[in-house]
């Protein structure tokens, strides 16, 4: 187990090094002067030169690269060309906002997906199974941005049940501002007893979380169903049935336990999907998280910020998969 962890960790580091190297040389080979981008506006030549020195762009590429990697190891991703603040600082501020959405979406997608998949498998061939099949087919086919717009159109414009966008009603930002403790607004508001803001944030989160949930939910449900059905056809289930184990135990204990491993894998993969979906969902729902930040960086070609976002998403993705691998190892003695 330790060896495995060590290997995965080493793999993560290697991946990050490769990634940051690629990103570094890509951005340096771009048209457009990074120093000029940094200064912006009607900068004079000498001012750009000053920025060039400030950013270390006057040194040879190799020295720049060494410097960049050194800084990266210290958690310094450079200064954002757009916000002119350290990218790390920006990320640390935005990550909790997105993670709040991502965590809820993952939770709902995983629990809902497994539940739907199990229900469909248990009632295999029935009308219910058919309905779930259609639903999940639709869920994996609907483009996230279209679904988000549909949610807005339906739940805001037609029904008026949920707010169109945002994280907190603006007046509450004034009357009941959220104190930043953990960065997770739901947790912070509970800690500080700020229930007005708590409910308001929760209310605002419904639609974006729903939008983020739908795709992974479909994927997880479909996989759970097929994995379960696959398991239920295995010899050991037949043998267990023949030895008088009740159908209920067979399905919900043996079946689920044996189908867990592929389901966990796909849950791990969903993290990436949800993270990417935040780009769209945060844009459409105006949620000030990492996706919104990334989008602004794309729009203004803020390479340092983009590099930071990519590295972060890469790290989260690898870490999520590693975590799932560890859990799989715990539940499945076959993986050695």
């Amino acid at each position: 187990m330790l060896l495995f962890l060590f290997k995965r960790f080493a793999g993560l580091i290697a991946l990050l090094v490769v990634l940051s190297t690629l990103v570094f040389f890509f951005t340096r080979s771009l048209p457009g002067d990074v120093a000029a981008l940094y200064v912006g506006g009607t900068a004079k030549a000498e001012e750009i030169e000053r920025a060039r020195v400030e950013l270390g762009l006057d040194k040879p590429l190799i020295v720049q690269y060494k410097c960049y990697i050194q800084k990266l190891l210290q958690g310094d991703m450079g200064i954002s060309l757009r916000t002119h603040r350290p990218v790390m600082q920006d990320l640390m501020e935005k990550i909790p906002m997105s993670m709040e959405l991502v965590c809820w979406a993952l939770l709902f997608a995983a629990s809902g997906g497994v539940l739907l998949g199990v229900t469909a498998a248990y009632h295999q061939g029935s009308l219910l199974d058919e309905v779930i099949k259609w639903f999940t087919s639709a869920a994996v086919s609907i483009p996230i941005f279209f679904f988000a717009l549909l949610l807005q159109l339906f739940f805001f414009n037609v029904l008026g049940w949920f707010p169109l966008q945002g994280r907190l009603d603006t007046f509450l930002e004034f009357s009941n501002p959220i104190e930043n403790i953990t960065g997770f607004s739901l947790v912070d508001t509970i800690i500080t007893g700020n229930f007005a803001a708590f409910f308001n944030v929760a209310w605002h989160m419904v639609l974006p979380v729903a939008a983020l949930t739908i795709g992974p939910l479909g994927i997880i449900a479909r996989l759970t169903r097929s994995a379960l059905l696959d398991v239920m056809q295995q010899d050991y289930i037949l043998a267990a049935r023949a030895s008088g184990i009740s159908e209920w135990v067979l399905f919900f204990y043996y079946g689920l336990r044996n189908a867990l491993s592929p389901v966990l894998t796909v849950i791990g993969l969903s993290v990436a999907l949800i993270l990417l979906s935040t780009f769209y969902v945060e844009m459409i729902f105006n949620w000030p998280g990492i996706g919104y930040y990334a989008l602004a960086a794309i729009m203004s070609l803020d390479y340092t910020a983009l590099m930071g976002v990519s590295l972060m998403i890469g790290t989260v993705y690898v870490m999520a998969n590693t975590l799932m691998d560890i859990v799989r190892r715990i539940v499945d003695p076959r993986i050695k």
Binding site: K44, E47, H84, W161, Q165, F171, A196, N286, S300, L301
Partner: protein, 516 residues
């Protein structure tokens, strides 16, 4: 179950919804703003943060909106006088003014601020290029000495780079400001600054103008990029004022129960640079043909919902120098075809690339119209939506590789037309900043310089020179001037007192506003 849950949530929120109205009914308001902050350093600021800066900081004097009886209103200065040669300006300063950090405003502060801005040389710092020195005569008198007679009052009233800040920030850098600190004298202080999210413009108790009478006291700025979101906030009474709503929603907002749209003059205009270094656009007839093929009326309908007019020249109508004497190229496809034929391109048959800033919704809307119209005269256009920075560096770096047509939204830094005419069209050689047409005309350069230097002494002559210079350009057509826009603020009907001042684009002067 779900239904009950939603019901519960509804009831749970009613108190807070009411709270909203209570809060809004007082002297507080929400401004859903699409204008982001590049920097909060008043010396460096040269971008969309202007709307906040102009409420936090003040200049010595301010240009009045067109149609006012006086050219300037007096803020930190109470008056000024100029020497006969136009090389010395003496300002008397307002007494009893305090900075937000508690220090007193005086002549030293003026000297410090302008010198800091000039020394940093960032943003619009170039406007002080012809300033020789600032002399402190006494605590409340200050003298500006110039190298050449440029229109100093206009410069001192500039929307950028002319703010007065507390000498207490002597050893502070831009990063300090960007954390959300300020050091102005304006009616509002910056509070709760969360970059890219929200911040508060909070009443400054000791503002020299006082808080008697009707004023908005606290403004929560909610940074909101999405026009649709702003529309919704406006319609749901969540924001009193918004910056940008979907273009096609203007009619409904104008008719809305609680909403209205305020229109006003603007010095902003859209233009299309032709890359004159390369065939076929090195041929003036081709450029002229294209200028006649731009569907100005359609652009106004679709890109601006009717709220714009065809531009005449570089200087927008209404601004000094923007007169009807400037030649205008009208939409005329037949003429365009004829000109193309004369230039040796009968029926077109060439392909051009056009770029616009992907962030700019208006450009995104009207660029296809140009493409569609050019096609009718046989000119294919390949449209590239690029991030503003990319398209700009592409246009600047190498004229041989640059795009053929470059769309730009422009507004002047200060109200004299010299800055516009100089920046956009004076000969910058191979490495331009703004002259992206690579236009070279020595006569033009001389003419505007002369006008700039005579404006202090002989405005009438200067005006004539500016008009002549513009006509010179109009004959060469390095740039097609597309539209002068009409500024607008969609807002709640309760909000009163917003005065639009084209010299300060997109600035809501909150101090003049109140809620009914």
């Amino acid at each position: 179950m779900v239904h009950r849950l939603i019901k519960f949530m509804f009831f749970a929120f009613i108190p807070f919804l009411l709270a909203a109205n209570v809060w809004a009914a007082e002297k507080n308001m929400v401004f859903a703003s699409p204008y982001g902050v590049t920097t909060l350093d008043p010396s460096v600021s040269y971008s969309t943060e202007l709307g906040y800066m102009a409420n936090i900081y003040e200049t010595l004097i301010r240009v009045n909106p067109p149609g006012s009886s006086d050219l300037f209103s007096y803020l930190l200065a109470t008056g000024y006088s100029a020497s006969a040669d136009g090389l010395e300006y003496t300002f008397t300063l307002r007494k009893g003014v305090k900075f937000h950090d508690g220090t007193n405003f005086n002549a030293q502060a003026v000297k410090f601020s302008i010198e800091r801005t000039k020394k940093l040389g960032k943003g619009a710092g170039f406007i002080w290029a012809d300033l020789k020195e600032i002399q402190v005569i006494d605590d409340y008198t200050v003298k500006f000495v110039l190298n050449i007679p440029v229109p100093l009052p206009q410069i001192a009233a500039s929307a950028y780079a002319s703010y007065i800040m507390s000498p207490g920030v002597k050893d502070k850098d831009s990063a300090w400001f960007n954390k959300g600190n300020d050091a102005g004298t304006g009616p509002y202080m910056l509070k709760n600054y969360k970059d890219g999210e929200s911040w508060m413009l909070a009443k400054f108790e000791q503002y020299w103008g006082g808080w008697d009478g009707k004023h908005v006291e606290n403004i929560l700025v909610k940074y909101t990029k999405d026009p649709l979101t702003q529309l919704q906030m406006l319609q749901a009474d969540q924001a009193m004022l918004v910056g940008r709503i979907p273009l096609d929603s203007y009619p409904s907002v104008k008719k809305g129960k609680n909403t209205k749209v305020l229109y006003g003059p603007s010095y902003q205009n859209y233009m299309a640079f032709f890359n004159t270094t390369r065939p076929p656009l090195d041929n003036v007839k081709v450029r002229k043909a294209l200028a006649h093929a731009i569907p100005y009326d359609d652009i106004i309908t679709i890109g601006f919902n009717g709220m714009a007019s065809q531009a005449r020249g570089p200087v927008p109508q209404g601004q000094f120098g923007g007169t009807e004497d400037v030649i205008q190229h009208k939409y005329d496809l037949e003429l365009a075809k004829k000109l193309l034929a004369e230039a040796g391109h009968k029926g077109g048959g060439f392909k051009l690339s056009l770029s616009y800033a992907a962030e700019n919704a208006q450009e995104a809307r009207f660029a296809p119209l140009i493409q569609s119209e050019f096609k009718k005269i046989g000119v294919e256009v390949e449209i590239k939506a690029l991030a503003w920075n990319t398209q700009w560096s592409m246009a600047k770096e190498d004229p041989k590789k640059a795009q053929d047509i470059f769309l730009l939204l422009w507004w002047p830094t200060y109200s004299d037309p010299y800055e516009t005419l100089f920046s956009l069209l004076h000969d910058e050689g191979k490495k331009p900043v703004w002259n992206l047409a690579y236009y070279r005309n020595a006569a033009y350069d001389d003419m505007i310089r002369k006008a700039y230097e005579t404006i202090g002494s002989n405005p009438q002559k200067a005006l004539q020179l500016y008009v002549d210079a513009q006509n010179l350009v109009q004959n060469d057509v390095p740039v097609a001037w597309v539209v002068d826009i009409v500024a607008n603020w969609p807002m709640n009907k309760k909000l009163q007192g917003l005065v639009m001042n084209p010299a300060y684009p997109n600035v809501p002067f909150f101090y003049e506003m109140h809620l009914e």
